[in-house]
């Protein structure tokens, strides 16, 4: 889905601006400190909402495909 690794950053930036993810720095033993991203509560809620939507959509498509098959 992601065509190149770099395109993840605009997406992360947008999610952070929307308050869905937050980032924090942690020391790394193998190089410079790393930035870690994690879901916020709002992000988790948004994910749950999306999962629900997705299931509904998937079921609708399944229903349609099975009926015509």
């Amino acid at each position: 889905m992601v065509t190149s690794e770099g395109t993840i950053y605009p997406l992360l930036s947008r999610l952070r601006r929307d308050g869905l993810v937050e980032s924090s720095w942690q020391e790394s033993s193998s190089g410079p400190p790393r930035r870690y991203y994690r879901l916020t509560d709002a992000g988790r809620a948004a994910l749950e909402g999306f999962k629900l939507e997705w299931r509904r959509f998937r079921d609708a498509v399944d229903h349609f495909v099975e009926r015509t098959a």
Partner: protein, 209 residues
């Protein structure tokens, strides 16, 4: 930093291209993306030899073409309609605001211009300095020169009320130089407006391709 290796140069060139491609994005977004992608590169290079050119080339290939990242960024930070209306108001006020509501109208235009995220600092400077007051200046100048066309007023400077007025034959002609100046002062803000509008439109076209 010691001697820049070929690998360092590749990274620097990549970031420079990315910075160019990100033009037109709000400054803060642009800086954020550059930082995070620099971090990504630094992190990945920690596992490579400093002068591992092939490793760095692979790394940059995987990161992807800066144009693709910029296209994704433009899509993610697409211009909102609300901002668009305000930007158009800014353009109109910069041009004729000073005429409709002398000086203040133009000042409001300048404020809207500078708080907008649609233009770069360079664009904003152009919008402010070419020409301050917009069409107010040439209009004012045109009126003044229209009134005293071809006349030179000489004030005696003393306490006396006498001023001498010498006029050209006919008295109606505007000096060609004066005319050129007025035309220039009319054209300059118009050109600026068209330029800023073009920059605005370029930004509002979402990254379709």
């Amino acid at each position: 930093m010691t001697m820049a290796s070929k690998a360092d140069t590749l990274v620097a060139d990549y970031l420079k291209r990315l910075n160019m491609e990100l033009r037109g994005l709000p400054r803060a977004r642009r800086r954020e993306l550059l930082e995070e992608i620099s971090e990504h590169i630094a992190e990945a290079r920690a596992g490579l030899e400093a002068d591992d050119e092939a490793g760095v080339r692979t790394l940059l290939d995987r990161l992807g073409d800066p144009a693709d990242i910029a296209a994704e960024a433009r899509e993610r930070f697409g211009v909102r309609e609300r901002a668009g209306v305000r930007d158009v108001v800014a353009l109109v006020l910069l041009l004729v605001g000073g005429v409709v509501l002398p000086v203040i109208g133009w000042v409001i235009g300048v404020v809207l211009l500078w708080i907008s995220e649609a233009w770069s600092t360079r664009d904003k400077l152009i919008g402010t300095l070419v020409v301050p007051g917009g069409l107010l200046v040439p209009l004012g100048l045109g009126l003044v020169s229209g009134e005293s066309a071809g006349c030179i007023e000489i004030s005696s400077g003393g306490p006396g009320p006498r001023t001498a007025r010498t006029c050209d034959a006919g008295g109606g002609g505007i000096e060609p130089l004066e005319l050129a100046l007025v035309i220039l002062l009319v054209l300059a803000p118009l050109v600026t407006t068209v330029y800023l509008a073009a920059r605005l439109r370029r930004r509002q076209v979402p990254a379709a391709a």
